[in-house]
Amino acid sequence: MLQQLINAIVFGSVLTLFSLGLSLAWGTLDVLNLAHGAVFVFAGFITYELTKDSTMSFVPTLIVASLAAGAVTLALELVAFRRIRLHFPARRQAELSMLVVSVGAATVIGEVVSHQTSEAAFSPPASAFSIHRYSLGGSVGITNIQILIVVAAIIVAVALDQGIRRTRYGRAIRALAYDPTTTQLLGVNVGAVAAATMFLAGALAGLAGVMLAIYLGGEEVATGQDYLLTAFAILIVGGVGSIRGAIVSAYLIALAETAVVAYGPSQWRDGVAFLLILVMLLVRPQGLFARRRFQRA
């Protein structure tokens, strides 16, 4: 029981790391980035490439791979999303186009990775990060990578939440989400803020990807898609664009899935996320944690 609780917290942390970037992009820029999962796997792939032959140590690898993931997402923003935002004034058309671009990008990134890895699962060698398990009495225990994931998730979640709430850039992001035109009139370079946001979103996916690459036995291209679908449930339950909502619902969903796997019919695990999406959208479409909604002018 205690062990399962630990498992759920670790899994929730993984989901938090993964879904925050997605929430950021959707909440502020209306980009439902289906390439987020592919970018996440891409970071794992970079980790694998950096560590498999050389002896690059963990921290530089983490930084390089996260930056690479951020760069890929930034490239997507600069090549496609920005153009779409400027040229398709109808918001609905822009959203659809950006969604489609991200589907295409997911395919492209996935194909490149699977070619480079000969379609097989990949993982950094054990030497990249040696995993130890600490016993907490009885059969209960936790490994160092699990601790690292939980700590990283807490740091990232708090930093992002506070950053969005309290900093100049955070205010610009929130204003941009509500009304880009006025935001720009106030002297905010919305193109730069959007680019920075997408870079951050990608880098967060990258951070999650590196940690997971080490934590899991092996990643493959499909791994990203699985997390993506769960992350959608997290955004819907938490309320799109709400950082706190995303964090809380990541742990809730982790708890729910862990409970189903541990004590219920585990083959229905995938159903948990999909069912939550449906139920939430029907009962409370704005999500659990959405604050007062203001009609956009």
Binding site: Q3, A120, I131, G141, L212, D226, S266
Partner: protein, 400 residues
């Protein structure tokens, strides 16, 4: 005039025009195709991309290796096999389209795709066109009954259950739990219908089976669940990255018992788990160190062609499927090769006791002798390579 009504009509007209245009190039369709001047055209509808592309690419490599060997050895006289690859994209509709194009072409035989849905949907097309279809990985029980032109060369887990059960019992393991991919047709049926009763019969207590969707990657909660009750062994009937992921999760959560699995752990799937996967055993068609002469020959050929890679079962399957075909052709003499002659050749080959392939002595089993069976081998994974534990014998499983 409503212009919108014209559009569908224009489409029909367009189809008709296209029909006239493209018909000139294609050859006559019908059951008795004949290859022109010494070439033997065959088509492999392969999963080059998509879900099982990791399998498809390897089968293709093995098949190409066999074609090169057969064409250069003069095994078929002056006649040369010409292999076309058609990508099924691991998708039923694309697979059927490709298969339809293949049976329409002058191919004298076709090789079918791996996913069971693809295999089941494409086989009737081959059967109707009366062209021999050698399925490469399809384990579905409904596959062979589709018709007398349908063959398969498949590393079937069913065939290897006895090897694994016997080894689990031999190691003195008293109990086991099995986790299986609940959305994989073959593995879920395999686990509940065959593995569990056979293990029980061999005196191994099956403490439980757990199904998980094959999309799962984070297994810590499942590992905790599996460990409870301290089973002496845990069996993994899962595909792809789930193998190394489960091994990693189990070992990191402190499980010390034996972990065994099935053939999808081959082809380097365990590499990501590193040394945590040491001691993991499973059964396959082929492994690099098989002692048979024909296996050594394949291994050598493969190494020459791909010096940096390790040959695995999927490569061997592709090679063997092509070898089976070539043997059938050679048994029908040196005349022109037709679809009919390929079928006759296959039947003769089945009656004459099969052939020697990458996996060793290979025979035709099943009620109509259309199930091509290799001896198989039980291997243990250790330090990044498969090591032979026990050699199998062809046709080990119960006759279907």
């Amino acid at each position: 005039m409503a212009r919108w009504a014209l559009a569908p009509l224009a489409l029909i007209a367009g189809l008709a025009i296209a029909a006239c245009g493209s018909s000139s190039g294609s050859s006559e369709s019908g059951g008795s195709k004949e290859a022109s001047s010494g070439t033997i055209p065959v088509t492999f509808v392969a999963d080059q991309t998509g879900l099982v592309s990791y399998v498809g690419e390897k089968v293709i490599a093995g098949m190409k290796l066999a074609v090169e060997e057969i064409n250069s050895s003069g095994e078929l006289g002056k006649r040369k096999i010409v292999l076309s690859i058609a990508n099924s994209n691991s998708d039923t509709a694309t697979a059927t389209t490709q298969m339809a194009a293949a049976v329409k072409s002058n191919a004298v035989a076709v090789f079918g795709p791996a996913l069971s849905a693809e295999a089941l949907a494409t086989a009737p097309l081959a059967q109707r066109a009366k062209v021999v279809d050698i399925g490469t990985l399809s384990e579905d029980t409904g596959f062979l009954p589709i018709g007398n032109y349908i063959y398969r060369l498949t590393c079937s887990q069913l065939r290897y259950d006895p090897l694994i059960v016997e080894h689990v019992a031999k190691l003195g393991l008293k109990s086991t739990k099995i986790v299986y991919a609940s959305d994989n047709p073959t593995l879920s049926e395999e686990t509940t219908e065959h593995m569990v009763p056979e293990l029980e019969k061999a005196g191994v207590k099956v403490q439980g089976t757990v199904g998980v969707p094959s999309t799962t990657t984070e297994f810590s909660s499942l590992a905790t669940k599996l460990e409870s009750g301290n089973p002496e062994s845990i069996g993994l009937m899962v595909v792809g990255a789930a193998n190394p992921d489960l091994i990693t999760a189990l070992r990191h959560s402190g499980y010390k018992g034996v972990i065994w699995g099935e053939q999808s752990a081959t082809a380097g799937a365990l590499v990501p788990a590193g040394e945590l996967a040491n001691g993991f055993f499973y059964a396959v068609d082929y492994t690099e160190s098989l002692p048979y002469e024909s296996s050594k020959k394949f291994t050598e050929l493969f190494k020459q062609k791909h010096p940096k890679e390790i040959p695995y079962g999927y490569d061997a399957n592709g090679y063997d499927a092509m070898k089976a075909f070539a043997k059938a052709v050679s048994l029908e003499g040196s005349g022109p090769v037709t679809r009919e002659s390929v079928l006759k050749g296959m039947q003769k080959e089945a009656a004459s006791g099969g052939f020697e392939g990458a996996s060793g002595k290979t025979i035709f089993v099943g009620p109509e002798h259309r199930d091509i069976a290799v001896p198989g081998v039980l291997v243990e994974w250790k330090d990044g390579a498969e090591h032979i534990v026990k050699l199998g014998t062809p046709g080990l499983e119960q006759q279907q």
